[in-house]
Symmetry: C2
Subunit: 754 residues, 2 copies
């Protein structure tokens, strides 16, 4: 606390603001320092939060300066300025489309190689190896490993196949883990929690490096094809953001401004989802709903839309699966595309199961993650990955539905039984009903366990696909049971809406799979609209959008009964990122007030603005690493001075002077400096964008203001006097205080004040 009670009360500070145009450079002219201090881009350390208002102001200033340029130069600058943003958008869209396609091909090949090889060359995957055959012809080019090595005994064949299957799983996952651990630790996990935090203003530049891009792509292919229970969807969003970040480094306007950087990232995230699911609309909506950054900013939404389209077009052009379609898991409906009211019962049941099991999966995953950090496993991440993948592979080899890759399983569960199609492992055999149901439930439960464990290990891992697979198994099981009930009691009144001819199937178990998948995803991610859009872009089941909506609705309701947060906010809390959930804060019992959350002025480090010394300021900057210091005159609040700005100014001022001049006096009041020429005028160091509220203001409004305006702090004044301060960190603490494992995996310790 530095107060000089003897300073004059009221300088006549009127003529420095009235009718004066706001202009950073003009403000600078008043001061003793060169102007580059403000126009210089502000640097943030990893682990801090950006100052949105500052970044937005800097961007506006840059844009305004472009508009002041005249003639050809002005026009060219203007054009190149908007062209740069769009170039990054287009290049990222194309790039992520290419990477997505390349990943599909790589994963497919690596997965196939675990079972056999092509005699036309090892680099062919099974479909390519067997292409060009007439239907019905048997593919002889593709050989299992036992065929290739001429093992004839059945026991020998099984042993050899399973050994290679497990061994390659271990090799793949192990190399993924080593790559991640050695070259890019931030390439582990899904990346979506980090992206949410970054888009909210968190600074974590290491997370979006070129190494991360490379390792995450490569590791992802290895991890997915090792058969670990994880998907590639979330990580693709991360990869897409890395790529956008790299490309935007080419242009100064995008490199230097943190707000612009985040706008590009928000659009790139949409492209990631677009490619991951072949779902351009779903991508935009994912950005809108889950990342919550596009809202309000129509420009960003629009760019997300464009980048999504470009990414999807690139993917479709490359066409990695050779289907010429974006729809990944096409649903073939053999029924008349009409659903009956009684089906709402199994569908709502699936919603309930999805909500409950999703919450269980979240809880298990958090528990496992905390256990991992606190146990010996934390020291041996690669060993853990190898062990888990060996166990996963061994167990998976035993259960027929687990053995194939999740995407293949899902694709087969989504389609209906048709005479023209080969029966997938006896799924369509009505006499094997209970065996199928048992196998499906077993598969689902095993996957819940493995997913809860694997999601968080030292490999790139997405949670979408495993969740879809779990839901699809359960959905199919419920569908099979419903179908059997209909077969057995087709005359019951509840089935009266079914067509009377027994030949027309009434219940489509494949579609129940889709419902189950949607419900399970709803339970885990708590998304709603974007989820529905992704599901039907994924399946093409547009006619069944209502049942999907109903089940997602139920899943969300049931899930929220077990805890409001989905898996991503849970991980954000685990890692203690300063991210504020978008939903409305409600202080139910009214115990907390703004005054009780606020850091009162008596505990703040404030600067007496009338007169102080450079030495004192220098000491403040050295002693505290708060983001800024409030400046007061008596108790009247004058403004806020940012720590970084102050540090730079002091550095310059003190380097010009001899060290003995630490006693040189300075002031933050402009008019005061004019009347006393000895004083150095620091008034232009104060932030212009400072929000003040009264202390009686409801806490909910404070939270809401910080949420919506992306503020780092709000100052509280009463009759002009400074009363206290609330920072973003205070709000994050307030909103995450109910989560049990908060900050259990934190890397950075946040500055709590200032």
């Amino acid at each position: 606390m530095s107060r000089n009670e003897n300073d004059p009360l009221f300088p006549n500070g009127k003529d420095d603001y009235e009718g004066e145009d706001y202009d950073v450079s003009q403000l600078e002219e008043h001061s003793h320092r060169p102007p580059q201090l403000v126009t210089q881009p502000r640097r943030y350390k990893d682990g801090t939060s950006i100052d949105w208002l500052y970044e937005e102001a800097a961007e506006r200033e840059r844009r305004r300066q472009i508009h002041t340029l005249h003639g050809l130069r002005g026009l060219l600058t203007l054009v190149s300025n908007s062209a740069q943003m769009w170039m990054v958008i287009v290049a990222t869209g194309i790039g992520i489309g290419v990477i997505g396609a390349w990943l599909d091909v790589l994963v497919r090949w690596l997965g196939d190689i675990r079972e056999g090889r092509c005699d036309r060359g090892i680099f062919y995957n099974q479909p390519v190896c067997c292409s060009g055959l007439d239907s019905g012809e048997i593919c002889t080019s593709w050989q299992t490993w036992s065929e290739y090595l001429n093992v004839t005994s059945i026991l020998g064949q099984s042993l050899l196949q399973s050994l290679i299957y497990v061994a390659l799983a271990v090799v793949f996952s192990g190399s993924a883990a080593i790559l991640v651990k050695t070259y890019a630790p931030y390439a582990f996990h899904t990346g979506i929690p980090e992206i949410k935090a970054i888009l909210g203003g968190y600074v974590l530049d290491a997370f979006l490096s070129a190494w991360t891009l490379l390792i995450k792509s490569l590791g992802l292919a290895l991890a997915v094809s090792s058969g670990l229970s994880l998907g590639k969807e979330g990580p693709l969003v991360h990869v897409s953001c890395c790529m956008a970040r790299l490309l935007s480094k080419l242009f100064r306007q995008l490199r230097q401004n943190e707000a612009q950087k985040r706008r590009i990232l928000a659009a790139a995230a949409a492209a990631g989802v677009s490619v991951a699911f072949g779902s351009p609309l779903g991508g935009v909506l994912f950005g809108l709903e889950e990342l919550d950054t596009l809202s309000g900013e129509t420009d960003v939404m629009w760019r997300g839309f464009v980048i999504s389209v470009i990414a999807a077009v690139s993917l479709q052009y490359i066409d990695p699966f050779g289907t010429k379609k974006l729809v990944l898991f096409g649903v073939s409906s053999v029924t008349d595309d009409v659903w009956r009211a009684f089906e709402l019962i199994p569908w709502i049941t699936l919603g309930v199961i999805g909500g409950a099991l999703g919450s269980l999966l979240i809880k298990l995953n958090v528990r496992f993650a905390v256990y991992r950090r606190n146990s010996a496993l934390y020291q041996w991440p690669v060993l853990e990955v190898i062990g888990v993948s060996a166990i996963t592979a061994a167990v998976s080899y035993l259960v027929v539905f687990l053995r194939v890759q999740s995407s293949e399983l899902v694709a087969n569960l989504f389609v209906e039984c048709e005479p023209s199609r080969p029966d997938y492992h006896g799924l369509c055999n009505p006499t094997a009903l209970w065996r199928n149901v048992f196998l499906l439930v077993l598969t689902a439960l095993t996957k819940v366990f493995f997913t809860a464990w694997s999601f968080g290990m030292m490999v790139p891992a997405g949670i979408f696909l495993p969740t879809i697979a779990i839901g699809a198994c359960l959905g199919r099981a419920v569908g099979l049971v419903t179908q059997d009930l209909h077969r057995a009691y087709s005359d019951a009144w509840i089935f009266s809406a079914c067509p009377s001819e027994q030949t027309i199937p009434c219940v489509s178990p494949g579609f129940y799979s889709v419902i189950g998948a949607a419900a399970m995803l709803g339970g885990v991610t708590r998304m709603t609209i974007s989820l529905v859009v992704i599901m039907f872009e994924l399946t093409g089941a547009l006619s069944h959008v209502l049942p999907i909506m109903v089940s997602v609705m139920t899943a969300k309701w049931v899930g929220e009964a077990f805890g409001k947060e989905g898996i991503y906010p849970q991980w954000i809390a685990l890692r203690n990122y300063p991210w504020i959930p978008p939903h409305e804060y409600r202080d139910r019992d009214g115990r907390l007030t703004t005054a009780s959350v606020m850091c009162p002025v008596s505990q703040l480090v404030v600067i007496e603005g009338t007169k102080t010394t450079l030495g004192h300021l220098e000491q403040l900057v050295r002693s505290y690493d708060f983001n800024g210091f409030p400046v007061v005159q008596e108790e009247i609040f004058l403004g806020l001075v940012g720590r970084e700005k102050l540090r730079l100014a002091l550095e310059q001022l003190l380097s010009e002077r001899s060290p003995t001049e630490l006693a040189q006096e300075c002031t933050f009041i402009n008019t005061y400096a004019m009347s006393e020429p000895d004083l150095i005028d620091l008034s232009s160091l104060m932030e212009v964008s400072v929000l003040e509220l009264r202390t009686e203001v409801p806490l909910e409004l404070v939270v809401n203001t910080i949420q919506k305006m992306n503020l780092r702090q709000i100052l509280f004044t009463q009759q002009g006097k400074l009363m206290g301060l609330i920072t973003k960190s205070d709000i994050v603490d307030l909103l995450t205080v109910h989560l049990p494992h908060r900050a259990a995996l934190a890397d950075f310790v946040e500055n709590r004040r200032g």
Copy 2:
């Protein structure tokens, strides 16, 4: 201006805020007035804006009071509290589903009756009348009017048919206009601009009355079936909102709180779109993108999702068209669902046409609306409707594509030519190419003119369907030309991607229609994502989502070159509603600053807070109708006192006293009142949620803060001193100043200050 320069400078006002819990009732206890003054719902006159912060605070306080109730009563209140909201949601969803279905049936019947009647009874429409026939059998039950009246000569038939056609058009539209003019003037037009404004905080209770609901539904059916170039989509949103408003009147929490009321309305609007297009997802996204109210508020988005599903399920259950599908204009694809790169050329062309023609339509419509208001037509709205519908009917009867209802035209343009399907007016005849193209373009241009005129007359009118019809005609024309080019030059390299067999069609003109419709809608409404979703929920053309996105993208770009605003913001500006566009404000040339937009303190009516008289306050309230008055002490800003709150308090205080006590002194400083017991303490009248900024703050941030926080005003202080004020109206003026016809159709004159 009321300043008393002799008042003491600094009262020690510390102990009335520090650590004190914020509690409305507690604050009340300090004062001389009974507490109901604050807990009473605030009333707003039509034409004003609500105080969001106040309403939110009131709602939070209500919720908090419920949570303080204990035992069974507390539980019951809690349950009934959330049940009420959901009951309104469910009932509105079902209600609008029923109304939508009923409207479909009514419009169909009224439309058919213009051409003939059913001999099984006049109340059958054509499809019902002809149902139950085997395919190929000719429907004899349905008779044209000339058949019914046994007119045999061809001339007589034509004359009679056209006469009845025109006469009934006049009767229908005339009665619609009379109904609207007599009973519910607010039932005219689409209603979406008003809903946007209301959701933003505008007060217009007459707009959502029971009469409006009834007249709009009825008038809509009459207007649409009269063949005027208008649709029922926008008005259905209005009807849905009316219904939600009526149902929410049943419950006090929804009736009394303006913020809660708007949350229900936002959800209801989604249901309207859901039913209008059979597009539940599109409804939610429409709310998100066009109404821009759901953003940020996950609760509202979620309710919109639920209500959309319920409305769509109800509509599907009633199944007015007997198709058992929600998809209105099903697209049948005869091609292999794959599109070729060369097709991007015609599609982007369609995007350009849609963007340009859409802008033209907007411009024409605004011109016509302004002309109507300033000409003699304004006195004779019913006559205008009758005249225009007679002309429309007469012209429409001559052009084969105009004669049918727009929905029928669109449905036929969207389907492909197939041998199994009857050829629609020779559209599939390749030899009649140029006749078809001419007819389609003629239809489109006629419709542009008629739509531009009709949208704004004294009848309920939506712009979606006519726009879709215009776009579909142009799309089909472009498709036909492309198809012909392919036929003629099938060996050209540009068509090399087409299948080599001539029997497989390469170009699908029906799908070009869909693209054209999407582009045109994009040009007129400037929606993007919601538009794409609506288009493919409307057509089921999920596999072609990319081309639709590309054309909408192009249309938006081209459209924005002619002006940023879509048709709804233009109408909002025409009617001068205080609505702030959601997009970011950019002051390109930097001429405007906060200080130049701000109303400086010298022009404000301020209250000297230290000591004033009841008489003076009473005179202020009587003389000015600003929303509030700033209270200052010397120049230091103390707070803002709302006019309504002040008026009520004064009423009560003065009614207790004799009129001579107008000289009774009062103060707004709590501690001051304590030391001088004669003074009446009015400090609790001051608003708690007041936002203060510095005057140097960039104007963009001011606009952004008012946008995001839904503020009515921002106060500017400097070192505690009040400098000025910017209100929502100032910002609306700032953002609409470039629109030429701003306020040309305004009903209310806004308060400019306070």
